[in-house]
Amino acid sequence: MRVTLERSHLLASLTHVHRVVERRNTIPILSNVLIRTDDGQLKLKATDLDLEAQESVPALVERPGATTVPAHMFYDIVRKLPEGSQVSLEASADGATLSISSGRSRFSLQMLPESDFPDITVGELSHAFTLEAGDLKRLIDRTQFAISNEEIRYYLNGIFLHTVDGPDGSLFRAVATDGHRLARADIAAPKGAEGMPGIIVPRKTVGEIQRLIEDPKAELKVELSDAKIRLTVGNVVLTSKLIDGTFPDYGRVIPQGNDKELRVDKAEFAEAVDRVSTISSERGRAVKLTLAEGRMVLTVVNPDSGTATEEVMVDYGDTPLEIGFNARYLLDIAGQLTSETAVFHLADAGSPTLIQDAGDGATLYVLMPMRV
């Protein structure tokens, strides 16, 4: 194999592909990226057996061939080559090393045979649709923070994507929860998505999708079955296994009858939460909200260091209420709200609270309180 290509093309592609490769691998071939010449192009592919990324870049192919080299090292080499340079890749005749040359730099990387490189068996993908990349990114942005990190709850370690019937037609919905908070975001369902199976897209795949979307206006093609998902944007194809679990019937967690409404300036609220939580000895400690007519007092007590309080003017006219929340969770949700005013629907200090943007029903957040 002998090819020459632009360093910028190779780097852009390696940037997308190498992230899939885990830093530590017990199976050596999984540390490598597959490179294969293909009709005026160089194809790059990386996998961790659950997620696979591949991309093609234009290249001058002098001698066709394919091989694999360590992905992170290859990426680091190309990254450090000068901008605007050309990179030549040449496999040695004995199949042992790949030489990478650019300007006066020469590298030689050990190869592993292409034939050892694993493929994710995709099987039949039952549903296919396209949507604007920015729409999917928005769904991910709104819900990703609520994905559970707890391995034992493997069925919560991703975003649940499915379609539901809405008042004005079918909706494409993303839901994530870690058992303490839940985020739900909707967009109008793209044509072809109706009737798709509900799928749980793993956290790592979600992160890669989000990073891949550079141009929100780009068209993104989604193909899926109940076991796999494939996303194509530009020259990049991401194929991933899905989480083999049942997402909980989340609708039963979303409170319907919370009758105490609180409206607060989102930025002012988030700043106040951030300030009073400084007194906490660790992040994620409780902040108590004391609500009375027209005002909210935020309090943090840390028996080891002191106390903090701040008063915020709010729109609240119901009976006084004291309720505690994890400060970090409040900030996470405030960080996702897009309108100036945050609307809280509360019941009592032991029940889930519903939080939404003023005037936006497409996204909602459910937050369980802390007992303070």
């Binding site: 034992i152 303490h180 369980m368």
Partner: protein
């Protein structure tokens, strides 16, 4: 704010209990009852009484039987508003919690008559034998006494272990063998206690964002105030 450590409350996550025959774990305490369900339609009597405490698997067996026999399933408390001829329409009917004080005795009697007329099988569940339900209608009592009882007894250790694993699997959870042994040595020996315990373990582990450890199990098992 109190000086005790603030505690995160978890969302009440719904789960789906697996209710098929393959999911019913059989052991010493429930072998006889499961055998009756498996033997249908070769029953020694047209009316079978499933008798066992809360959590012993009565509803699960009713579900298995209803799937197999296409039986209508009705709560005893709802019998009064149901049409007995419709209920026995498929040739099989299950009545749950017949010892519920809300039972309309006449309605149950009419149902048994309708079943007899139709040649239908009837499966009735209760927590105890009919003589202690306080039935006042003598004809109903004698009909219930003539029914074939099948008892769900307390679980032995092997069954209790399988029940806990099944209840955890319903919640898509698993625990280490060491934690399971720890629990089995210390818990009350009943299926109802197993249900409550697994629910509490799930909730506590969700609240803390941690797997179910011995420390969590110890707190959940400790009597109120000792945790």
């Amino acid at each position: 704010m109190s000086r005790s450590r603030p505690r995160q409350l978890p969302l009440t996550m719904p789960h789906q209990a697996a209710m098929s025959r393959e999911d019913f774990v059989v052991g010493e305490g429930n072998r006889e009852a499961a055998a009756f369900i498996d033997a249908w339609p070769d029953w020694p009597a047209s009316v079978v009484l499933l008798i066992g405490p809360n959590g012993s698997g009565k509803s699960h067996l009713v579900n298995i039987w209803a799937t197999k026999s296409r039986a209508a399933v009705v709560a005893a408390a709802d019998l009064a508003s149901a049409d007995p001829t419709v209920l026995v329409g498929t040739g099989a009917v299950a009545v749950e919690d017949a010892d519920d004080p809300a039972l309309d005795e006449k309605a149950l009697f009419h149902l048994l008559n309708a079943a007899r007329g139709r040649g239908a099988s009837v499966l009735i569940t209760a927590h105890a034998v009919p003589s202690v339900w306080g039935v006042t209608l003598p004809d109903l009592l004698s009909r219930l006494r003539a029914a074939q009882p099948a008892f769900l007894g307390p679980p032995d250790d092997a069954l209790l272990e399988k029940v806990i694993i099944k209840l955890l699997a319903d919640r898509q959870l698993a625990i280490d063998a060491g934690v399971l042994d720890y629990i089995l040595l210390r818990m009350e020996r009943s299926c109802a206690a197993a249900c409550e315990l697994v629910e509490a373990l799930d909730r506590e582990s969700l609240a803390r964002g941690r797997r179910i450890t011995k420390a969590i199990a110890a707190e959940v098992l400790a009597p109120e105030g000792e945790a």
